[in-house]
Amino acid sequence: MAKTFLTYTSALVLEAIASGYKYGFDVMDVTGLPSGTVYPAMRKLERNGFVRSKWEQEKAAWRNQRPARRYYTVTASGAEALADLRKRFHGLQRAVAPAEGS
């Protein structure tokens, strides 16, 4: 696979998603990055095939009386890229605390 050059920000977002922070706003909370940075980073990751997005079950949304949320998960190639990124950016793993229940 052709290596895609990722910035530290993107790496951090990928790390956060890998750590179980599935939603855009959760990623913002845990990384402390502004929304105008996180979302474009996630779009780029999705375009590169490192993350995949899905809609949560309608039932859950219905229970909370809000629209279904979109959540992101790391793909196989995303996990591979993350392993590389961890070597490049030391302390990447430590920058994100594991999410509850993951």
Binding site: G24, S35, Y39, R69, R70
Partner: protein, 905 residues
């Protein structure tokens, strides 16, 4: 909580509302296929966060909790601001492909939903673009593409001109040419050629007459072309008078199958072996594409070393290459100075030179024809566009509701304009593709009706330039016909059209007015084209009605020229032609047989121009005028049915030892003897090598159009072949039935007489005449077709606008009928509208076509540019078709049922 709680909740609601507003605004920038998902993602996150921050926190006091909520709200709003960069990022990275595809898909779906409309438009466009592309490929091939020589702009031809003797373009004499070469300072080289008589090529099985050109050694280097194989002539071998030839690619392929072993070998030309030294490339066609052989011309031995260099026999063709930084004007000045010096020789008195770019020389008067055609065809495209614009406009009225709905659900004006332009673009590209197909067909038709001698016509193809041109006009067409309706459809108060129904009058009125303006323009353009075509046709009729001076029906002509070296003496030649005449005469259905050196309407007319004057008067000051000189047999005038005005024909009493006699044409007779009868007088003719002798005028014949029907007759002198026995003759046979049916029999007779002398170019006199008309026929037929196309399109335009008028005013018409209007009032209402449009269009067209005189004047013959037949006939024709086109809608209007019409709301 009480009051403050309510306030608080209202503020909370306000925050969430602001956030959602912000997201909705940002969503505008998101490409539409992604938009809904994107918006839902953000809204879900915001609503989720909002739920989170309102979740009770037992550890905090009420006050602390309110504060933290306020902070969280601000943070949430700030976070929502991030939706804007996100949306813009998507806009930048996902926009182009997706949006365009969506627009395209939407447009195609829309066009498929209206198949009749789409097909009509593509068809009209295919006609317009196809005609335009076909004509452009001719313009491209003939005018735009550079000549196949390196730096063709530097090539010029040089001519002798004499205003006093009204000679426009004579080839220079060898003497003058030699002086030009040595004295000029502006040319890198100047070469001369002369199209000699065809040579007989022969091998063991077959024989063929091949066009040959005699060329100076530097001929090929002046043009700057290298041979395809071998080499060109070398100065040394030319001086030694070696028999060497260079062959054309076509002749080499045809006769030797492109065998490269031919180089260095001998071929038999006129029964003499010639060594082939080179083959020229296939696109080298100088002086013309029929030339199969180039033979060297020893200019030095032939002329320069003669005791008296000949200066009055003007027959050369001269091409020169300008030095790199020399302009045409500078070359002309230099040549003016040289020719002023050459006036020291009496025969050069009053003669000047003219330097003309080779490209102009080759294309010649075709430029005017092509430009007029191109103008005409662009006019047709413009009319086609106008028609389509009109159709779209009509459609736009029907679509104003659709557009209003789309605007109401949030489509921006930019978006809709883009959508409509995409639709136009798709239509015109489809039209362009269809047009390209019709251009291929059109080009084939063009080529088939084009005169065969059109210069560079074999170079005409549909190439990359043409394709680029088609693409360009397709896009320009889209802009032109899409722009106005689009502007129109998206202008103004769209919600207005939501309220009214589709037959509402508000939008309709503006569109009607605009549509009318377009149709007026169409009629005017069609008028201009038809007037132009009418003028050309009238001029063509004038030309073919010109009395030719001879009867071309049932005359078979051919060239016969026994080898001058075999038939050396006059007796031999006379015997040959005498026997030939008797044998041809004996063929069934042959009435009379004659022969001449100079056949009218023939590009190989071998009648030189020679000076003449009355023997009883001195040579005129400033040189004698020149007239065409040809040798004829007694049967010639009879066969061609050229009228003998006075005196007698040649007969057996004119022979080598009798008094030299001449027959003159009436132009010459009038010129020298005015009204007196010249028969019995004596005429001096300076016949080059034969010297100046007086000839007894024995007869006067009627004028014959020699070069072409539109060219006025020149003074002509005919000598008796029996007294001046030439070897190169054109035989003419008058037959009882179709002359071409005798061609094979004639060929056999000639070959039986001498098997080594093949016949050359058997054709009929009618074909020769029609060949000289080919250009006129070509341009008038083509312009007539284009004008017809324009008229049809304009009629169609009138119809569609009037149909729209009626359908748009059905309610009003219904109201009128309900209020007591009679059906003929209704019809009059519609027809009045149609008549007004036609009148405006015809008036405008009239003014436009007055401007035709400038571009067309060179193409017309015997027609004033304000020809009454044309300028009365065209308006009547156009106005009546326009009225006819409005009659159908008018009848529909008459059948409007008032109750139905009024209920329509």
């Amino acid at each position: 909580m009480g009051c403050s709680g309510r306030l608080h909740r209202r503020r909370e609601a306000e925050v969430i509302l602001r956030c959602l507003q912000l997201i909705r605004f940002a969503a505008f920038f998101v490409p539409s296929p992604l938009r809904d998902d994107w918006q839902q993602e953000w809204e879900a996150e915001v609503l989720h966060s909002y739920d989170e921050l309102r979740r009770p926190h037992p550890a905090l006091s009420q006050r602390e909790r309110e504060r933290s909520i306020r902070y969280a709200e601000v943070a949430l709003f700030i976070r929502c601001l991030g939706s804007l960069p996100d949306a813009l990022w998507l806009c930048r990275h996902e926009w182009r492909a997706d949006m365009l595809i969506q627009d395209v898909r939407y447009s195609i779906r829309g066009l498929i939903r209206r198949p009749a409309f789409t097909v009509a438009i593509v068809f009209i466009l295919a006609l317009g673009i196809g005609a335009n592309t076909a004509v452009f490929s001719v313009v491209n091939g003939v005018l735009l593409r550079p000549l196949p020589f390196p730096e063709p702009d530097r090539l010029v031809m040089i001519w002798d001109v004499s205003p006093d003797l009204s000679r426009q373009k004579d080839g220079p004499s060898p003497g003058n040419m030699i002086d030009w070469r040595s004295q000029n300072t502006v040319f890198d080289g100047a070469a001369a050629w002369y199209a000699t008589q065809p040579k007989t090529w022969r091998d063991n099985n077959d024989a063929e007459k091949v066009q040959a050109a005699q060329v100076t050694t530097d001929f090929f280097s002046v043009f700057g072309r290298m041979p395809h194989l071998g080499r060109t002539f070398e100065a040394a071998e030319v001086e030694r008078q070696d028999r060497v030839v260079v062959l054309s690619y076509a002749f080499w392929q045809r006769r030797f199958n492109g065998d490269s072993a031919l180089l260095g070998r001998n071929i038999l030309l006129d029964e003499t072996p010639h060594q082939v030294v080179g083959i020229m490339p296939s696109d080298f066609a100088m002086p013309n594409k029929d030339v199969g052989i180039w033979v060297p011309w020893d200019f030095k031995k032939g002329y320069a070393q003669l005791p008296v260099v000949p200066r009055d026999y003007r027959f050369l063709r001269v091409v020169a290459r300008l030095k790199a930084d020399v302009t045409i004007q500078q070359a002309q000045q230099n040549m003016d100075a040289i020719s002023a010096g050459l006036e020291q020789y009496p025969v050069n008195k009053g003669w000047r030179t003219r330097v003309i770019p080779l490209a102009d020389e080759i294309v010649g008067d075709l430029r005017a024809v092509l430009l007029v055609l191109f103008g005409a065809v662009s006019c047709v495209l413009l009319i086609a566009c106008t028609n389509i614009s009109n159709l779209l406009l009509t459609k736009a009225a029907g679509r104003s509701r659709e557009l209003a709905v789309r605007a109401a659900i949030g489509a921006s004006r930019f978006r809709m304009v883009r959508q409509l332009l995409t639709e136009s673009l798709i239509l015109s590209l489809a039209g362009g593709a269809a047009g390209l197909t019709s251009a291929f067909l059109g080009l084939r038709v063009l080529m088939s009706i084009a005169p065969p001698d059109l210069p560079r016509f074999d170079e005409v193809t549909i190439d990359a330039n043409v394709l680029a041109f088609t693409l360009l006009i397709s896009i320009l067409t889209a802009l032109f016909f899409g722009f106005l309706p689009t502007l129109h459809a998206t202008r103004g108060d769209l919600s207005g059209s939501l309220k009214t129904n589709s037959s509402g009058t508000g939008v309709g009125r503006v569109q009607r007015r605009f549509g009318k303006a377009l149709v007026i323009f169409e009629i005017a353009a069609a008028f201009t084209l038809m007037a132009g075509a009418g003028l050309l046709l009238r001029s063509f009729l004038n030309i073919i009605q010109v009395p030719k001076g001879f009867d071309s029906d049932n005359v078979l002509v051919m060239r016969v020229f026994p080898d001058a070296r075999v038939y050396r003496s006059g007796e031999q030649r006379l015997t040959y032609f005498g026997t030939l005449k008797d044998r041809l005469r004996a063929l069934p259905s042959v009435q009379t047989v004659g022969a001449t050196t100079g056949l009218p309407m023939n590009q190989y007319n071998n009648a030189p121009n020679r000076p003449y004057w009355r023997a009883d008067l001195p040579v005129p000051e400033g040189g004698a005028p020149e007239g065409q000189l040809s040798m004829v047999t007694p049967g010639y005038f009879e066969t061609m049915r050229i009228r003998m005005l006075s005196g007698r024909n040649f007969d057996s009493s004119d022979h080598a030892n009798s008094q030299m006699v001449v027959i003159i044409n009436s132009t010459l007779a009038r010129k020298l003897w005015r009204d007196a009868n010249p028969v019995g007088s004596s005429l001096m003719i300076d016949y080059a090598a034969r010297g100046k002798y007086p000839y007894l005028v024995v007869g006067v014949v009627d004028d014959v159009r020699g070069e072409a029907l539109r060219v006025a007759p020149e003074p002509e002198m005919f000598l008796a072949h029996a007294q001046v026995p030439y070897a190169t003759m054109n035989m003419v046979l008058r037959t009882e039935r179709d002359p071409m049916s005798l061609a094979n029999a004639v060929r056999r007779v000639i070959l039986e007489l001498d098997p080594t002398q093949p016949v050359y170019s058997i054709t009929t006199m009618n074909d020769l005449v029609s060949g000289t008309l080919a250009r006129e026929r070509f341009s008038s037929v083509l312009l007539a077709v284009l004008a017809g196309l324009a008229a049809v399109l304009a009629t169609f335009g009138t119809y569609s606008v009037m149909a729209f008028f009626v359908s748009n005013r059905t309610r009003e018409i219904g109201l009128r009928v309900a209020l007591g209007a009679e059906t003929h009032d209704v019809r009059a209402l519609v027809l009045r509208q149609g008549a007004a449009i036609a009148a405006c269009g015809v008036g405008l067209g009239f003014i436009c076509s007055l401007g035709l005189s400038w571009p067309m004047s060179t193409l017309l013959f015997g027609v004033s540019t304000v020809e009454p037949v044309v300028f009365v006939g065209v308006p009547i024709l156009l106005a009546s078709t326009a009225l006819l086109a409005s009659y159908i809608p008018a009848r529909r209007a008459m059948r409007v049922d008032p109750i139905e019409a009024l209920r329509q709301d």
